[in-house]
């Protein structure tokens, strides 16, 4: 019963603007898949979702749900349900009435509405609150009511627009897993918009990264992490972020501060200029004694000790895109602030990007 969703060169150009908010979006959501749309604010992720919902016009291209072209259908004819950022619960209706509202509008029999509402309430542990007004609920409970309202409709596609952003940090983490497991249980195709890459990575079967209205990459979370398609994705996915820097290349070696890092042949062959953008994740930095080949010195500025792990922030002899270099270090033997330590980049986990296009270069 699961339904695929297809964006086919879907574009949204706001009237009076020359730059499209969403530019030729090509995206296929597999049946039953949980797809997370992620990107910084203004990247067009919410607009894409609203185009799918029918709340925004599609300027060109098309959108299909299953085998139906819904590009110009009204929202109510698309068989979708949406969870809004602020939940958008009707304040004058009780929880039960809120959840059953769409069914009531659709003319479903009263007895069936109450069974379906009761079922959804059981799944979401909302049975005790059915007669309350949204005002009398906590943020987490309201969020569950908003989910319930979507579930009750048994739609072909769930749309979620940053549904967790109004919850406090702790609740957000627990609700995150609840929503993901609920979606897996129901098996309904879901498009989930978030600006939080951790949310996207932990919840999505696949993650689509957008920037300035353009789709950057769609991949499973780990693929995205291990093989970012360009500099933007590399810097956006992962926390703390990947260290990125532009370095000169000499005789097939990148000059990183005092170190020479040997680039793979495939990378140097693909270079068009004398420079390369290198990226290395905090955990692909290896602490080595001074003088090791390919090692560079880092002056320790801050060490964040989190117990299970520790991150070192330091300054490098060369300029990075971020102000500081981040390295993951042994949590039980952290270097002192102000000291100088040496790191080497694991060559297997080095990312290289073109300085002109920002696209990833082959490393093998």
């Amino acid at each position: 019963m699961s339904t695929p969703v297809v964006f086919d060169a879907a574009t949204r150009l706001y009237p009076g603007s020359t730059v499209p908010a969403v530019d030729r979006l090509d995206l296929e959501v597999q049946p039953g898949e949980f797809l997370a749309l992620v990107g910084p604010s203004g990247c067009g992720k919410s607009t894409s979702l609203r185009m799918l919902a029918g709340l925004e016009d599609v300027s060109s291209g098309s959108i299909r749900i299953g085998d139906r072209d819904v590009t110009h259908l009204r929202p109510k004819d698309r068989d979708i349900a949406m969870v809004f950022q602020n939940y958008a619960l009707y304040p004058h209706l009780t929880v039960g009435e809120n959840m059953g509202f769409a069914l009531k509008i659709a003319g479903v029999a009263k007895s069936e509405i109450s069974t379906r509402v009761a079922d959804a309430a059981r799944i979401l542990d909302l049975e005790r609150f059915l007669d309350r007004k949204p005002k009398a609920l906590s943020g987490g409970q309201r969020q569950r009511v908003a989910m319930g309202r979507a579930i009750v409709r048994e739609p072909q596609v769930f749309l979620m627009d940053e549904p967790l952003s109004n919850l406090d940090a702790k609740l957000r983490v627990s609700t995150r897993t609840e929503i993901a497991s609920l979606q897996r249980r129901l098996g309904i195709t879901t498009v989930y918009v978030t600006h939080d890459q951790v949310e996207a990575m932990t919840m999505g079967d696949r993650v689509a990264v957008l920037k300035d209205g353009v789709l950057q990459q769609v991949a499973a979370p780990l693929d995205l992490y291990d093989r970012p398609a360009n500099v933007f994705v590399a810097g956006f996915i992962g926390s703390p972020a990947m260290n990125l820097g532009t370095f000169a290349v000499e005789d097939g070696d990148a000059l990183v501060a005092e170190a020479r890092i040997r680039l793979p042949r495939a990378t140097t062959d693909a270079l068009t200029t004398g420079e390369v953008v290198l990226g290395f994740r905090p955990e692909s930095l290896e602490r080595v004694p001074a003088g090791t080949e390919g090692a560079f010195a880092v002056e320790v500025l801050v060490v964040e000790e989190l117990g299970s792990e520790a991150f070192l922030y330091g300054s490098l002899g060369a300029k990075l895109h971020n102000p500081q270099l981040v390295a993951k270090v042994e949590p039980r033997s952290v270097p002192a602030k102000g000291s100088v330590v040496h790191f080497r980049v694991d060559p297997e986990r080095l990312h290289a990007f073109s300085t002109t296009t920002g696209e990833a270069l082959p490393t093998a």
């Binding site: 919902a53 958008a88 009707y90 509008i105 007004k133």
Partner: protein, 335 residues
């Protein structure tokens, strides 16, 4: 020793309480001093006239019996005064029984007029204001210009609009009758019949009162989150259903307030009736406040009867407001 402990432990509450009052005053005298001018002004402007009016309604005070003494000039140019034998005196509920039985004035006619007037005006104010607010809440060109233009009637003093509309309704020279004649209809003698005269007054007051409702409702509309409309759209509602299920409930707090205010204001709306119909024909379109005014300032000035009108109006409005609040509360409105 034992005495002071007894006082301290509150066995004799008198001194203890006085002590507390004193402490409060010592501590908060500044606040009292700040509030005092307001209390004084409110007392002088509201409380004193109110109490005085209520007291007068239990007397037979008129223009002729208000003096305490009768004075006459003597030949020598001096004055000799004797106590006024016809001086006003307390009459108990006499004014009220007279008023309610129709012995004096036409209370029931005026009450009926007042109710018809208030209902018609508030209903039209609200519905037209709601309609205009919904229109103005959409995005279209020149929206702010329309907003300003629609608020203009509010800025015009009530008596000016009253005169303007009276001219428009003038049976001989008025624009409205000339339009009717152009359309091939008979001119209407607006002020010769109770309901046509009332109609003219209602039209005037609607013109005057709609802007306030419109602005208030527009504010209410803008406080309804756009997400709610989108959610309702996703839930498959038609525009009318969205109006019914999102707009109307969303406006309820604003609506309940402006309808209560509008009712009280219209109930006591003096200048429109007074200037537009002037009670024509033959006092058939008077409402309670204009009746009170006529009792107090026309012919033999009957202050006590006017005060009685005032107290009855106040009582009616208090009962109405209390009932209204009760209904709102039973519907779960926090107010």
């Amino acid at each position: 020793m034992s005495l002071s402990t007894a006082a301290g432990s509150g066995v004799t509450p008198g001194p203890a309480r006085r002590g507390r009052l004193r402490r409060t005053f010592d501590k908060h005298w500044y606040a009292w001093a700040m509030v005092a001018p307001t209390i004084f002004v409110l007392g002088a402007l509201v409380l004193y006239p109110l109490v005085r009016g209520i007291l007068q309604s239990f007397t037979n005070l008129t223009e002729t019996n208000q003096r305490a003494e009768v004075c006459s000039k003597t030949l020598g140019g001096a004055e000799s005064c004797t106590p006024n034998p016809d001086r006003w005196h307390w009459v108990g509920l006499h004014n009220y029984t007279d008023l309610l039985t129709g012995e004096r004035g036409h209370f029931w006619l005026l009450l009926e007029n007042t109710i018809v007037w208030t209902l018609a005006c508030v209903l039209l104010h609200y519905l037209i204001g709601l309609g205009l607010a919904v229109l103005l809440n959409r995005n279209f060109r020149g929206r702010s210009l329309y907003r300003v233009l629609l608020i203009v009637p509010w800025a015009v003093p009530a008596f000016v609009s009253a005169f303007a509309w009276k001219f428009l309704f003038n049976p001989k020279f008025g624009l409205i009758n000339s339009v009717l004649v152009h359309l091939g209809l008979d001119p209407v003698e607006w002020f010769n019949h109770r309901w046509t005269a009332m109609f003219a007054a209602v039209v005037t007051n609607v013109w005057l009162g709609v802007p306030f409702m419109m602005v208030a409702i527009l504010g209410g509309l803008q406080s309804i989150p756009a997400e709610l409309y989108e959610a309702a759209e996703m839930d498959g509602t038609s525009p009318w259903q969205r109006f019914r299920h999102v707009t109307v409930p969303g406006l309820r707090p604003v609506s309940s307030t402006v309808i209560l205010l509008g009712t009280i204001w219209t109930f006591n709306m003096f200048p429109i009736i007074y200037f537009v119909t002037g009670g024509q024909p033959a006092g058939e379109t008077e409402i309670l406040v204009t009746g009170s005014y006529r009792a107090a300032f026309e012919g033999l000035r009957n202050y006590s009867l006017a005060a009685t009108y005032g107290v009855v109006i106040l009582a009616l409005l208090v009962v109405y407001a209390a009932a209204y609040r009760r209904v709102l509360k039973s519907k779960g409105e926090v107010w």
